[in-house]
Point group: C2
Chain length 468, copies 2
């Protein structure tokens, strides 16, 4: 039993005179009442919406290695301080930067038509001035797999798979292999470049970018997403019997070694300051939009949640609430991996009582899911949280969770996690596109999110037991 | 009484043995039955949708002076011939061409942010490499009017007026003065350029282009539309107390004298071939999208309507149905003005019995409006048409009409007109944007349109009386 656990036990004995049997530590009446009171304040509070408005308007896009990212980090530090966090600090994260430059495409045959495209993350450049080639159409990644190796010499591989719309975003993973691994497969088949229908559910001429499975350097061939209407246009052209020839010009740049930051703000626990409840969102965004639903919303929800708890309680909750504005999530959870590694190194992983990230847009929370490593004796706390979120339309859900993308490295080290499941029906209309802007966010949904997060964060920080 | 009227009278006497009193010429039972039969065939017929698919896919954008326009004219001629029109021909129209080149804009202060913009029609270029200037915000054209002349030296005038959404598009005219005349007013106030919120109702990062009131040459200062989210972003930045400075680079080109064409297909009337019922849409489009709702839909509806009548009647209707695919509508009804002038010159204006253009998107028809120059004795025919369209959800509407933009020059010369009013609730989400593409069109609505147009065109061509 380490120091922290002893302190926790002492604190617990002092404050919780009666136990349930089997070591179940109840959520006290006072804690529940306070959670309800905080929830009911949050549902009338536009702080998260205002924080998001400031971030997306005054900073804009926050892609690693750009001035926007630097401005975002400055903004994060200043905003956390202005909101009255007890401790505000950053941790440097080394990474490899990549930025897009020129990106144009046109159909040359059968008729001249401009295409709306964008390079996928870490796409290689085409030769200067672009390349011209016929496209060869595959309806899915699996269909491209069936082509003979080397058979696409001098051609562009075009995968047209359509992402399906689901509330929980289930269509994303299924379609996304074309984006993440298509470039390798296209190279294997001998193609000059990879062209995919955007991994997204909208019908606007705004392509969806996103990461490929390349950690540094470049994809194996230039890897490009068409807007969905443009992809459908090519499919129709082929349906008429044409063999479209296109010109593709992609110029991108590997920035080499750069430094990004995790920006961290803490509300220090009154009794167990070393035990932390981790909440947050990622501060970086893709470069095309202003990162409103991905993930300015998560950043704003987490900041507003901690602030609302601080401003409406006489003393700090028992444990520390650590708000982490994760860096460089979009290029592969880079800030989150670095954070987990650093906590392994400094021996504080075990201090992470529980955590969650908000990174699925700005839709309302409808479900509460818990990770499998939460002990049976603590499940009643999660059930209580869900119960107190019930008025917000939240129900308890089954299934395991890592607690969001940036929680994955921590979850892999055994940190318990919750998932405040958001309605993502429209999320992939905007995700990674120029259209991810503040005007798309519903203030009522932001309030509902903070209300749910407040119940979670307050109870997790105040309940004296262990989730493990 | 001219030759044509005598022929008409003889024809009429031969075919319509009984008259209503007061010279009312009834719509015969056979004509009504045939109109119903055609309507009921049209509602199950996807010809218009297929025609539109071919035009927008195989040709794409059709902006005057571009290869796309040439391809569109070729397509029109070939398609009319393939559909079996009795006569297919073109008429040359002289005009001045204008095309866009580079168009980029960025916020420089308070933070670097890319803006989504497009040049308005006939916009002047900025100096090469662009200009940098602070923006000065006006909520409306009227507000900019109040600024002192010469007071905006070194600044960019920014008008942020929001177009309102209405079924009949009533918000367009009100907002549009900023687009059409803003450049003159900005120049008068001394500004370097004009920046407007797009004249459109969507919230996507696709700006709306459109004509300015410049017939040749250039606007007085560079005239540019921001996408609506970008305009709102600037308004928010200003709301925070910032004075945004932007860089604007617009390079456009006056093509000088070019030739466009009206493409015309006729179904020759069996008895009164010189009397024509004019239907159509405009074949040109803006360059950003593929001109699906503006106005490929109108082109397809008109072509399908005449074809459906031809294919489902034993003999041609009494009068000629002339389908006109108007040229260069977007740059100021240029094809339509030339056509009207040529008909004045060749003395055949009086042969135009009645006309209408479909140019308000691909939404369903909900109303039938008539021009005030239709005689009292012919109003019952319009009422009958509306009655036969009733099952399609169409009702008779009051108000005067020119019968659509390209009918205006003819209407000004006294040609009777109808307006098949379309539901334009969503039209200005797409109008003049990159998003005006085939995927936005509902095939059911296309069928409904052709059904309504068939009732109109068939009865207008078959009923032996005069609308004047
Ligand atoms: Zn994200
Ligand atoms: Zn993302
Ligand atoms: Zn039009
Ligand atoms: Zn138009």
């Amino acid at each position: 039993m380490n120091q922290i656990k002893i302190v926790a036990l002492v604190a617990f004995i002092l404050t919780a005179p009666t136990f349930a049997s089997n070591s179940l530590i109840p959520v006290s009446k006072e804690t529940k009442e306070m959670a309800v009171s905080l929830r009911d304040k949050a549902i009338k509070d536009d702080s998260a919406y205002e924080i998001l408005k400031s971030l997306t308007t005054e900073v804009g896009a926050r892609h690693p290695g750009t001035p926007g990212e630097k401005a975002g980090i400055e903004w994060g530090i200043n905003k956390l301080k202005a909101l009255g966090f007890d401790k505000v600090y950053t941790e440097d994260v080394k990474m490899n930067g990549w930025v897009r430059g020129i990106e144009t495409a046109e159909v040359l045959i059968p008729s001249y038509q401009k295409l709306t495209i964008t390079a996928l993350g870490r796409s290689k450049s085409t030769p200067e001035g672009g390349l011209e080639a016929q496209i060869v159409h595959f309806e899915s990644y699996a269909d491209l797999e069936k082509a003979a190796d080397g058979s696409l010499k001098g051609k562009i591989a075009f995968i047209s798979n359509r992402m399906e719309r689901f509330k929980n975003g289930a269509g994303y993973g299924r379609a996304n292999i074309a984006r993440s691994k298509g470039h390798e497969l296209a190279a294997k088949k001998g193609a000059e470049a990879l062209l995919i229908r955007s991994i997204g559910t909208d019908d606007h001429r705004n392509p969806h970018t996103g990461a490929t499975n390349v950690a540094m350097g470049y994809t194996m061939v230039p890897a490009v997403a068409l807007s969905n209407p443009d992809a459908d246009q090519l499919v129709r052209l082929i349906g008429y019997g044409h063999s479209p020839k296109i010109r593709l010009n992609i110029q991108t740049k590997d920035l080499g070694a750069i430094v990004t930051k995790n920006v961290i703000g803490e509300m220090t626990g009154r009794e167990l300051p070393n035990e932390v409840v981790v909440i947050g969102g990622h501060l970086d965004s893709w470069d095309l939009g202003t990162g409103a639903v991905d993930d300015g919303a998560g950043v704003a929800i987490a900041m507003a949640t901690a602030t609302l708890i601080k401003n409406n309680t006489e003393m700090r909750p028992r444990r520390t609430i650590r708000v982490i504005l994760w860096g460089a999530e979009e290029l592969g959870l880079i800030g989150a991996r670095a954070y987990a590694k650093a906590r392994e190194a400094d021996g504080t992983i075990a201090n992470h009582v529980i955590g969650s990230e908000s990174d699925f847009g700005a839709g309302p929370v409808y479900g509460l899911q818990s990770s499998d490593n939460i002990s049976e004796n603590a499940m009643h706390v999660v059930d209580t949280m869900a119960g107190l979120m019930g008025e917000l339309g939240v129900t308890r859900r089954s299934g395991n969770t890592s607690g969001g993308p940036d929680m994955m490295p921590l979850a892999a080290l055994g940190v318990p996690a919750l998932n405040l499941m958001q309605d993502g029906t429209d999320y992939f209309d905007l995700h990674h596109t120029p259209d991810d802007t503040f005007d798309k966010v519903n203030p009522e949904h932001m309030r509902q999110n903070v209300a749910a997060w407040t119940v979670f964060a307050f109870i997790a920080a105040e309940w004296p037991g262990s989730f493990k």
